[in-house]
Amino acid sequence: MADISVTDQDLHHGEDHGDHGHDDHHGDKYQSSFIDRYLFSMDHKTIAKQFLMTGMFWAVIGAGMSIIFRLQLGFPDADLSWLQPLLGGWIDINPSTGVGSLNPDFYYALVTMHGTIIVFFVLTAGLSGTFSNLLIPLQIGARDMASPMLNMFSYWFFFLSGVVMFASLFLNTGPFSGGWTAYPPLSELPQASDGSKAGMTLWLLSLVLFVVSVLLGGINYITTILNMRTKGMSMFRMPLTIWAFLVTAIIGLLSFPVIASGFFMVLFDRALGTSFFLNEIYVAGEALTERVGGSAILFQHLFWFLGHPEVYIIILPAMGIVSEVLSVHSRKPIFGYKAMVFSILAIAVLSFLVWAHHMFMTGMNPFVANIFVLFTLIIAVPSAVKVFNWIATIWGGNLRFNTPLLFAIGFVSLFISGGLTGLFLGNAAIDIQQHDTYFVVAHFHVVMGVAAFFGMFAGVYHWFPRMFGRFMNETLGKIHFWGTLIGAYAIFGPMHYLGMAGVPRRYYSFDTFSAFADFDMMNKFMTIAAIVVFLIQILFLINFFYSIYKGKKQTTMNPWEATTLEWTAPINAGHGNWPGAIPHVHRWPYDLSRYEDRDFVPQTEPLAEGEIDGGH
């Protein structure tokens, strides 16, 4: 419990005793060695970078996997023997022709790992972990998180979870291959498939560690936001980023334990012979007469009770970042600040009431399905409010078309496109046709996958100077943006069409279905687009790492002329963020273009005589 003293004595020294500087106190007694400073750091800014770098590592792995299985889908007859050095036994070589093809079991493993990695490691930990850590203390005016130690543990549990998942890639029987949703019985019976053997055990272990990481992080984010705001930072003076992180953490805290309960029961079923999710199963003609009475559907309920909130855990931080970036770079206050806050809250509440829209086709009672249709369609309302407000924010603004703004606008475009397809899927009757087709794959990649990546990119380009004291290259950034935007639509646009034609997802090959033979060209096109987009992301990586060392130096403390507190701390601020006292807050965070003669007014500036705080 060493961190109690950090929080109370060192970190708040400045705050409690007024204005004299305390550099020596909140200095680096925790960071005296290399290991403390870069590895087991308790500083929220370092932990944010750790989350970001780890997330980027996983993004490369996860995206790389998708390229390999896209090759199979686009070019099923191609010779893949050149991949053998990388994939070894997972490339089957035809002994007579010498042509190498992807092992079907491994195809499923790749799809499963791709989903798991991107959803949990990249878009949950990499996105929310990075920006919650970086921005919460800086934007609310705190020296660090409520418990820097728990914060450090949160990262290391994530790291450990990644190590376990990574190890599963090297198993003889391969990693888990039953889909990122891990439905039983595939996830429970080792005899069901190779991936259901040790691969699934490691998958479960990894995700249990991951849940611990999310919970530790979330507890900290909530506590910090609710308890450690600087003087004057009332709830309605918090930037929308902070609102988004707060609500994200709350959703996570309520939904992740539920999936943890499901995971425990799967563990019991696997290891201790219980049958929570098993009933009258036949595997390879053999009846498992002992395993009766359970229900696989029950797992689906537990999974989607997390699963749907999880998609908002992913998208809300991106929404917060986008709100902030749009406002700053169009030099206008966010339109409808309170409406934005309330729609975040409404989305959060509703996100717990719609999970069964993933289960319309499980034979549920249509009257029950109706209730879920209703709530699912209602959730479109707060989503639409946000979209209108973003558009109204940039409308008539003095737009600075730099990379962060472009990515934020791209986010809005993608969120609209993907949200519209959600409305189709949300109708139980239409879903009969669309369920488990590429339409669903297109829907969630656009609305969640790519959109959340765009939010993350907007954030990285925008707060890069805050993290590294330098800027990323604008030209490369713009190429990155246009390439990714056009490429993403090129991949997922045609996919909607495939789905409407009934092409099912999660198929290794369509050889035997003459109905789907017409889509060869389209599949080739999507695969090529995917490869191009992947290569463009490498450009981003180069830009990122090059700029850390060689990027244009940040010379002024507040390069974007933003109003929020993170830009009042010195460039490359040390532990404790502000060398002197913590700044106090006197106004809402969006006083941009409010006055004729002033482009922006920082949150730290006291209200003038008779001036009314904005946003109220």
């Binding site: 219980t274 929570f276 359970g294």
Partner: protein, 188 residues
């Protein structure tokens, strides 16, 4: 100069409460799944062995003793604190033993973990709860060793906070068990 800000609740205490909410979600998930599964029929009913009722008494007493220990701690009464603190952690261990006894008693009447989902659910909840209790026991013993290292008690805000955190968690684990056993009795 600004006046020191008065906090109603210490951030770490607040964090514990947030954590408690999340742990509650875990057990509400178990019990909801229990209800759903039970309504599907083919549900084996069995009487709860006496050991579980004894253990309920034990953990309740343990909580009460710990509360008194906390009172003694605040009054810096070393002797009383030591007695009560140790007694309450011993009762925690007795609780675990009784839970185990209860499970063995179930096995004796032919109810095993895999016999029916009714026993599987009981098993998974017993285990999850025991894990939480072991966590509480670990925290309690750390606090006790720290406090008892010296022959006198000196109350510092930091120590008091630590003690309060442990007590809150311990009471939570206690109430959690009450919830589980009352839930199962009602469901029978």
């Amino acid at each position: 100069m600004t006046a020191p800000r008065v906090r109603r609740i210490h951030p770490q205490k607040f964090a514990l409460w947030v954590g408690i909410i999340s742990m509650t979600m875990l057990f509400s998930a178990f019990t909801s799944a229990y209800i759903v599964r039970k309504s599907a029929g083919n549900w084996l009913s069995f009487p709860l062995p006496d050991a579980f009722f004894y253990s309920t008494g034990v953990i309740l007493s343990s909580s009460i003793l710990l509360h008194m220990a906390y009172k003694a701690f605040v009054k810096e009464n070393y002797q009383l604190f030591r007695g009560l603190g140790i007694a309450s952690s011993v009762l925690g261990i007795v609780f675990l033993i009784l839970q185990y006894q209860g499970w063995i008693a179930l096995n004796d009447i032919g109810v095993f973990l895999h016999t029916n989902q009714s026993s599987s659910f009981l098993g998974v909840m017993l285990l999850a709860h025991s894990f939480h209790l072991v966590g509480g026991l670990a925290a309690l013993s750390i606090v006790l060793t720290y406090a008892l290292r010296k022959k006198t008690l000196k109350l510092t805000p930091k120590r008091q906070l630590r003690m309060e955190l442990v007590c809150t968690f311990w009471h939570f684990v206690d109430i959690l068990w009450l919830y589980i056993i009352v839930f199962i009795l009602i469901q029978q």
